[in-house]
Amino acid sequence: MALSLTWDVYSHISFVPRPVPTLLKLHVKEKEDRKAIRKEDFILDKIKDETIYRLPGSINGQQFIVQNCDNCTVYVFDHTGQIQIDDCTNCRIFIGPVRGSIFIRDSTNCILATMCQQFRTRDCRDLYVYITCASQPIIESSHNIKFGCLTFNYDKLSEQYKSAGISPWNNTWGNIHDFTSIPDSSNFSLLNANEHVFKHLPIPTDPSCSHLNVNDSMETSVTPYTYGELYRHRNEERCLVVLFHHINAEVCARELIAIAKQADIVLVQTKSYSINEMSASRLFSGNAKYNSLVTKGPVIGLEFAGTNCVEPCQQLVKKLIQSKYQNLSYFISESATDSRAQLDKFYNFASMQMFT
């Protein structure tokens, strides 16, 4: 029960407040289910040399905490509300989709893989961090933090993304903000595409989770592999493809990514959001056709890169849409010069509309 206490103050009569403790009504109801669940199932405390599994349905959007553990391997194959990892050493931790933030503090030499809305560290060193992160990951007073794009899949993972409100198309895994950056050096680095997560996180082997078909393959990953900041300052030609809201937009996007890869065209970044009409008219140079398309729902935007990639991208998209997705509306850059400006606008509008 939340107890509210009030001091009444008559500041014009006297500067000494007159205390009037009053019992006010109960404001936040204690959840029925909070009593029924066992807290220790959600808090791993002071455990050493163990491997711990949480299967789908066992956490169901609740908070999960790992603290004071050493040399443990933890797999949470469920969606969660908020994660705290504190004072851990030599641990390997996988956490399913996190609706809110994952905060790791005072920990060293750990491997962490997760999908989350926010990622934060403080006072950590020597971490491998594999993430899908909807916002810019931040680090503070942390050193030697290696970030990688998490590619992952298991049965039910896709539904768990939805339960946690995490979109596989919004991933800024490599765009790190360091609150305590140091001159002429960096507290973090980015891992290459070949440093996939199971190089560092052990593959789960317990029979209890064998039915989940856990894998880290790029081809089947819920979050598509993106090069992100690894490609930010490279000069390869860019091409923006926007798929407007449609029941098959996600499937089409995944297929497009796969065939582009075969043509040596890489996926730099993706973004999904509801473009408002004002942004649409500026992004698509006032072409009214697109203004009505954006009102249908969120779009999926794909940034591709490769030597002279605009023309082959146009051909691939055209062929794919004509053969399988005739009712799906799309936009694609006309030229390399256009695409750079369009991409800037597309990302700027995204951060304005999503985060302000």
Binding site: M1, A2, L5, F15, H27, Q62
Partner: protein, 182 residues
């Protein structure tokens, strides 16, 4: 009707602007709360690197709510926002027990600040929906709030995520501000 209307409606007519400062440790939920106050969608929120401000305009009234980033590194900048504060809202992640001492320390320092002298204090014991959350009454004891004698204060359990308790906190603000301006 947005939640901020509660305050707006009760504000004395001669005073047409209310400055509300939202402070608290990083990850306390300040930005989520800010968006809830402004009746905005809370599905996309990023860690605050500087500050966010939301102004809600109404007939003759303007409410300015300042939400300042809470990382240890940037807390020294909080003082840049103290001037002319009408109400201080201090937000706590009630489930982050590891940092109760740290948040206690930061709040104590704020209450010593000359520029915030006498400014009404609302403590939001946020994230009451999480299973490790401490009750508002326990946080009251932990923060020794009962010892505050130089300003009106209130602690309110809430969840910015479910919106429970937020309205009650704002009602306290409107009541307190009205009384102070008498």
């Amino acid at each position: 009707m947005g939640l901020l209307d509660i305050i707006r409606n009760l504000r004395p007519a001669k005073q047409n602007e209310l400055r509300i400062l939202l402070l608290g440790l990083d990850n306390a939920g300040k930005t989520t709360l800010l968006k809830v106050l402004a009746s905005e969608d809370i599905s996309h929120i990023t860690p605050t690197q500087g500050f966010n401000i939301k102004s809600v305009q109404s007939t003759g009234f303007k409410l300015n709510v300042w939400d300042i980033g809470g990382q240890r590194k940037i807390r020294p900048y909080w003082r840049n926002y103290f001037e002319n504060t009408d109400v201080l809202i201090y937000v706590i992640d009630s489930s982050d027990r590891k940092r109760f001492d740290e948040t206690n320390q930061e709040l104590s320092e704020l209450l010593e600040e000359e520029k915030l002298h006498g400014v009404p204090l609302l403590v939001f014991a946020n994230k009451q929906d999480l299973l490790n959350a401490a009750k508002a009454s326990d946080i009251t004891d932990g923060l020794s709030l009962h010892q505050i004698r130089d300003r009106p204060w209130q602690i309110q359990g809430c969840s910015a995520y479910t919106k429970e308790g937020v309205k009650e906190g704002l009602e306290w603000i409107s009541k307190t501000v009205a009384k102070n301006k008498k």
